[in-house]
């Protein structure tokens, strides 16, 4: 495992913001960490990167215990923290050289790597520009570049696409894919479900400090139900809804309008004919019957039981 946590707790005052967190991030994966605001994503990232210490529990990065081998862990870890600033009056290159030396590189090595990495993130022509003049997107790219110094094995990013325009988001996505292709494990937190669905292979969903789901994107999408069937029915009665809910492959139903019912199903076979027959046999007139595959967004709302 690139990252794993055991029985991790974090308490602020008397309130637990993380409870019994068991996280498993496979080597070479892109792990998306989802959760609402205040779910504990940033706290988890701070714990994983050593910016904060856990109240209880253990963190392992590449098999090394963070509490006893923090120095070694820092050498193989790259962090892009959320909303963190650079020194406005210094150039991008000056930042990179400084951080490179802190990561154990010599001045010369640091300078060479900095130039390559700034080129890689598209800041090659801006390396002598003061960071104070950088846009938000450029600062994010500089943040990624500094995290890639000294070839880390694990890259942790806290909502890197926050506040970026579509072009910026696509650039960051491209950079992260390249990093992953080079063998770097990526742990990424985000609000943006589409973003996670687009690039991640694994997903963990955090809710109120608890990890409520952790699996591949595909499995998460089908965790509760693997599809939604929208039925339009005249003469829809509550008895009919109860009968539909009693079917063994139906997870739940939601009444969307007077005649529109959404049925969440968990089945690998086509269950539309069976639903249709049940409705017709009970006096209903079906005028619409469509099946949609669940998106990660649907799955997220499903798993976290958030009602809008």
């Amino acid at each position: 495992m690139a990252i794993s946590t055991k029985n991790l707790y974090k308490k602020y005052g008397s309130r637990f913001v993380l409870e019994n967190l068991f996280l498993n991030v496979e080597k070479g994966s892109i792990y998306g960490f989802l959760g609402r605001n205040g779910a504990g994503k940033t706290t988890t990232i701070k714990l994983l990167s050593g910016l904060s210490t856990p109240t209880q529990g253990q963190i392992f990065v590449d098999g090394m215990d963070l509490s006893s081998e923090s120095g070694k862990v820092k050498q193989i870890l790259g962090l892009v923290p959320q909303d963190s600033g650079f020194y406005d009056e210094r150039t991008a290159l000056s930042h990179m050289v400084y951080y490179g030396r802190l990561k154990g590189l010599s001045k010369k090595e640091s300078l060479e790597q900095s130039r390559v990495l700034l080129d890689q993130v598209g800041l090659g022509n801006e390396m002598f520009k003061k960071v104070g003049y950088f846009s938000h997107g450029m600062k994010t790219r500089l943040g990624i570049a500094q995290a890639l110094l000294n070839n880390p094995e694990v890259l942790i990013l806290d909502e890197p696409t926050n506040g970026l325009d579509p072009v910026g988001i696509r650039q960051i996505r491209q950079i992260l894919r390249e990093c992953n292709n080079n063998g770097i494990t990526i742990f990424l937190s985000s609000h943006n479900l589409l973003e996670i669905q687009e690039i991640c292979t694994y997903v963990g969903i955090l809710d109120k400090g608890k990890l409520i789901a952790e699996s591949t994107i595909e499995k998460i999408r089908h965790l509760e139900s693997n599809g939604v069937i929208t039925v339009g029915v005249y003469n829809l009665s509550s008895e009919m809804v109860s009968l539909i809910e009693s079917l063994k492959f139906v997870v739940k139903t939601e009444l969307k309008a007077e005649h529109i019912l959404e049925i969440f199903v968990n089945s690998r076979t086509d269950v539309k004919p069976e639903i249709n027959r049940l409705i017709v046999e009970n006096g209903g007139q079906v005028f619409k019957l469509i099946e949609n595959s669940l998106s990660l967004e649907d799955a997220f709302f499903d798993v976290t039981r958030i009602k809008l």
Partner: protein, 250 residues
């Protein structure tokens, strides 16, 4: 703690750091103030010392350090860590280096600036001494250099500690000003009060006696004891700073 990291952080702060220019500027202003004090003492108060072998330039410089030094240190040190906490730039460093290296790197930068400043003042007083009485009093100069460095070091470690505890610069400045006020209040309680031991002023002022007539009757041991007290005071706050940064959530 890692000496290589301390060296990198200290070096970067000294030559390229965001505060570097203005801390060096304040150091320069301080030297200039000491120079003015020495210059005007030659013009206006030389008659006071006509029977005691000339103007004690090192003592005058030391008095300037004792009185203005803490304020100068406060202005330059109160935001040494809090500014990085406020902007979040601290996270980039802490994700790569040990927390203790960060604190010691910052401390060594400030200590270097104020030691250089003390050295500059010592050099000027040496020149004044030689130009007025054709003598070099190296012992006094060395005592001045060590005393003023340690005395200012005590204040650097105090304000560093406060800066680590503060979430932003405003809080840090307010806390530093209040703490300095408390130290002055403790000192003003007089010789009978045990509160004087909690202030660097007490240890700093003790050295005035040694600087007036060197070598002192009590001998070098007394001087050594006094300097060690200041060193200990500085180390206590430095250890408290290290403990504070290691416990902080960033």
């Amino acid at each position: 703690m890692n000496f290589s990291e301390i060296h990198i952080i200290g070096e970067d702060e000294t030559f390229r750091g965001s505060k570097s220019k203005y801390v060096w500027l304040f150091g320069g202003i301080f030297i200039f103030l000491c120079f003015l004090a020495m210059h005007y003492s030659t013009s206006y108060i030389s008659f006071l010392f006509s029977n005691s072998g000339g103007i004690p330039y090192t003592l005058i410089s030391y008095l300037v350090v004792l009185s203005i030094g803490p304020f100068m240190v406060m202005i330059t040190s109160f935001d040494i860590v809090s500014s990085e906490t406020e902007t979040g730039s601290l996270r980039y460093i802490i994700s790569k280096a040990h927390r203790s290296s960060f604190v010691l790197g910052k401390f060594s930068f400030l200590f270097l600036v104020f030691t250089s400043m003390s050295f500059g003042v010592a050099l000027i007083s040496l020149i004044y001494q030689y130009s007025t009485s054709n003598t070099f009093q190296f012992e006094k100069i060395v005592l001045f250099l060590i005393s003023s460095s340690l005395y200012l070091g005590c204040f650097i470690s105090i304000f560093l500690f406060i800066s680590i505890l503060s979430a932003n610069n405003k809080i840090s400045f307010a806390m530093s000003a209040v703490f300095l006020g408390i130290l002055i209040f403790f000192f003003l309680q007089g010789d009978e009060s045990y509160l004087k031991y909690f202030t660097p002023y007490y240890y700093g002022i003790k050295n005035i006696e040694f600087m007036k007539s060197f070598p002192v009757e009590a001998g070098y041991l007394k001087i050594f004891e006094s300097l060690c007290s200041m060193l200990l005071y500085m180390l206590v706050f430095l250890f408290m700073s290290l403990a504070a940064i290691n416990r902080r959530d960033l």
